[in-house]
Each structure stands twice: as C-alpha cells, then as structure tokens.
C-alpha cells in the first residue's frame, strides 16, 4: 500500500511521519505524475488559500478530483478538509467539492483560539485527543454522510464513502486511531 501526501505547503512531513510509524509507504505529491500507483492521498494542514492556488495553477486540481471520483481514498485534515468541502465560507473560496459539507474557515477565530481538546469518537472508546489550529468549523453535513467525532456538539470528523475530513490534526498527536480508521477505508477498495 502506498499513500501520497500533498506536499505543496503545510505539515506534510508530520503526516508522513505518522504513516511511517504505521509501516505504510508514503510519497510526496507535487505534480500529476506523482499520483501514479497511489492507493490513497492525504491533504495535510496548512494554508488552504496557498494550497488551492497551487492545485489550480499547476494542474493537480482535476486529477485529484478524478482520483476521488474513481473511488480513491482521500483524507483531509484542517486545510485539507476545506479543500474537500463542496462549500467554503469566510470568505467564499473554490474547492475540490468532493464532500457534501459546508465549512467555515477560521471558524473558532484566530490563533489565540487554537487548543487541544478531547471529544467523542465513534470508533474509540476513550475520548479522542484533538489538536485544533486556526481550525475550520463544519457548519453543515449533507444527508448520508457519517459524523464520526464531535467536539462540543459540532461535527469534527466526517466520512463520505472513502473520503474522510477532520477539522483537527491527528498527525500532531501520538494517537494513530483516526489514521488506522482511514487506512481501513483504503483496504475496503482493494478487496472490492
């Protein structure tokens, strides 16, 4: 299994370190050719405006969409979740529009509102540690999508088929629960 991590800008190294700790091969994605042979893609945290501009200008935008529409698994954290959403607010901005969610950028406010919190996660018995950094808020979740974790009554981890979006940063913790769940989604495709 090989997972590509979008390496335009952001904490892509932290994602690769997490994948490495789970003995999963990973590769940096900066060009269309880097998508060949990948089983899944991670869209890391960072600045969504910076990442989006790159995807649009350097030809990765449509190949990434195609990867998902062909059934490929994609996991977006924070900025990555913003890129996956069908609708982005505060301000309005383009996105890959793959997951039927509405996301409010910088939903909690500025860096002073960044925090580590614990919330309920449907596949982990104990509370899940979540690192929120200038995090977005998932304001609306479309019908048929699964809310897998919540913080203070708000959805923070949402699944649509093989697409997974987190508004927090599992890659910045020592807890691989969310990552293992994502790798499970890839497995489903291989078996199918």
């Amino acid at each position: 299994m090989k997972v590509g991590v979008l390496a335009v800008q952001g904490d892509f190294e932290a994602h690769r370190a997490m994948l490495g700790s789970l003995a999963v091969d990973s590769a940096e994605v900066r060009a269309v050719a880097d998508l060949d042979g990948l089983d899944a893609i991670v869209l890391p945290g960072g600045e969504s405006t910076t990442q989006l501009k790159f995807l649009q200008e350097e030809g990765l935008f449509h190949p990434l969409r195609k990867f998902a529409l062909d059934g490929g698994a994609i996991f977006g954290t924070c900025a990555g979740a913003i890129l996956l959403a069908t609708e982005v607010l505060n301000p309005v901005q383009d996105s890959l529009a793959l997951m039927d969610i509405t996301v409010l950028r910088n939903g909690y406010g500025r860096q002073l509102s960044s925090e580590v919190r614990f919330g309920h996660c449907s596949f982990k018995p104990a509370p899940l540690e979540m690192v929120f950094i200038r995090a977005p808020i998932i304001q609306r979740v479309g019908p048929g999508l699964e809310v897998l974790a919540e913080d203070a009554g708000r959805p923070v981890l949402v699944r649509q088929g093989r697409l997974l979006a987190a508004t927090f940063h599992p890659e910045l913790t020592g807890d691989s629960t969310v990552y293992s769940f994502f790798l499970g989604l890839i497995g489903e495709r291989v078996q199918a």
């Binding site: 952001g10 892509f12 960072g46 600045e47 910076t50 406010g109 500025r110 950094i133 200038r134």
Partner: protein, 296 residues
C-alpha cells in the same frame, strides 16, 4: 523534553508546522497583504516599514501602529504576524491583545533591552525569533520561541548571511548527533544553551521547532538555495515590495519554495521577472549598521 507535553506549547509549534513549505511576506499596507495572499503567501508580516527602508531612513524602528496591523488582519484570511522590539514585552502584550497570530521578536526593529529577550512562555501567542547559530536558537527556544528563523541580514537583498546562519545551525546540529552524553554537557556549556534542548537536538538531528530562513531572500533561486540548505519555509522582507514587480515576484518565490528541489520549476519561476531589489554588499557595511548583531 517536558515541553512536549504542554498543550499551549503544542498548539504554538502546531501553527509553525502549518506554515512549513510556504512563504511569509513582509507587508506594510492592507493592499500589499492582499497581493501577498493572492500570490500564495502562507502568512504575512505586518510592519510599518520594510527592513530596506528602516536601514535607509534610520531612526528608532518600533512595533507597527495597531491601526495598520488591524487593517491587514481584516484584509486577509491567512495568519498575520507582527514584529516587536527585542525585549519589549509590553509591545508583545499589545500585539497579543490585538490577537495577531504570531509575534516576531525581531532584530530588524531597534532593541528595547540589550540584556533580556521577552520571556515568551508567558504568552499564549506563539513567537518566532532570529538566530545566527545553534546556541542562540536554543536560548530563544528555552525562552519559549515556537519557531526559529535565520537572522541573515535583513533589508540587504543579499543572501550571504542567511546562508552563513543556516549552514552554521545545520552543521552544529549534525555534529551534536555524533557526541556522547558527557560531551553534550560540555557542548551545552560551549553553546550557552540548556542541556535538555542540546540533548533533544542530539537525538533528533533537528530543532524541536520549525526552522525557517530569513534575511536576504530576493529571488526564486535564493528561496530554493535556503530550502536546499535545510530551511523549512522562507520569510521574504524587502525582496518583494522593493522589487519592480511585487505580484509576479511574490508568486515566483512561492513556486520556487514549493518546487525547491526541481531546477526546471525554479527556472520557470525565474523567467519574465523584472528587476530584483538592488541589494547591498554586506562586507561594505559598518559593524554598527548590521542588524544581525542585535540580540544574543
């Protein structure tokens, strides 16, 4: 290192992690901030005058007026940083009250305290500080800096000092990884840095916080150079808005930073650029004109 379990520290370093691979641009107006954001900057640094103008005009350089910073904060959705004078914790308190996303305790401004830097653990807003060598970087981290950058020589448009500082830090880190425990104690003494941080570097071969480059980047190739030498992101001060083509140059430097390992992409980014900022031969500067010797 006990800090790694401190949640305030983790979200400070976390924001620094999010800026990796990006370009942080100096801006003096809301309009410049918009140009920077459109060009793909991952953050902007709000200040009253860019370093090249501070150098030229002289006088005391202070924290920017809150009004300017506020205008910049409302103009863009990316993180906004602002500078305080070295040791001026009251300016830092004002910036925290203003809710900027990052504070740069910067040698570019006129120092307010020649013996003490700000105790940065006392703030909830993360700080970035400059360093010329590993000892200086670890002292700033001990005080609570969540991101380091090379000092370089701000406002010079000359990459030589940023290169010197990045190489010094990377070489010193590499050396620590070869030493045994009693040598590390001795090295902590030589570096003037806390032993636990020296041990962290020896074990990991890197700083416990992201290490960026600043002070002299003017071209896409400059950005590629410092990234290849080990920088994890790039600050560009005067290099963009002191050039003849800020929007194009800003975009080109962002591209070269992402594709720093790909010479063809850096070439492409370098095409059709206008004139870079004029720049200064740092060796022609008097010792007292150097900004990098401010702070310790």
């Amino acid at each position: 290192m006990s800090l790694l379990n401190d949640n305030t520290w983790r979200v400070k370093v976390g924001l620094a992690e999010m800026l990796k691979g990006g370009v942080i641009m100096d801006v003096t107006t809301a309009q410049q901030a918009e140009i920077a954001e459109k060009a793909g900057a991952c953050a902007v640094m709000a200040l009253e005058r860019v370093p090249a103008d501070i150098r030229k005009e002289g006088g005391v350089a202070r924290m920017a007026a809150p009004k300017i910073i506020r205008e910049i904060m409302s103009a863009v959705s990316i993180p906004v940083m602002a500078k305080v004078r070295i040791g001026h914790f009251a300016e830092a308190q004002v910036l925290e009250a203003l809710e900027v996303d990052f504070i740069d305790e910067s040698e570019v401004l006129t120092p307010a305290d020649e013996e003490h830097h700000v105790w940065k653990h006392g703030f909830k807003v993360p700080f970035v500080c400059g360093a010329r060598n590993l000892g200086e970087a670890l002292r700033r981290i001990a005080e609570g800096a969540a991101m380091m950058r090379t000092k370089g020589e701000a406002g010079s448009g000359n990459i030589v000092e940023a290169v010197r500082h990045m190489r010094a830090i990377v070489d010193e880190m590499k050396r620590l990884t070869t030493l045994n425990q009693e040598q590390l104690v001795h090295e902590a003494k030589n570096l003037g840095a806390p032993l636990d941080l020296v041990e962290y570097v020896a074990q990991h071969g890197k700083l416990p916080v992201p290490n960026f480059s600043a002070g002299g980047v003017a071209t896409p190739a400059d950005a590629s150079l410092v990234m290849q030498l080990g920088a994890e992101a790039v600050f560009v001060g005067s290099g963009i808005f002191k050039s003849s083509d800020p929007a194009v140059r800003a975009r080109a430097i962002v591209k070269a930073t992402t594709h720093f390992k790909d010479p063809k992409a850096v070439l492409e980014a370098s095409e059709e650029l206008g004139e870079a900022m004029r720049g200064i031969d740092v060796r022609q500067l008097d010792e007292k004109e150097l900004l990098q010797t401010r702070g310790w």
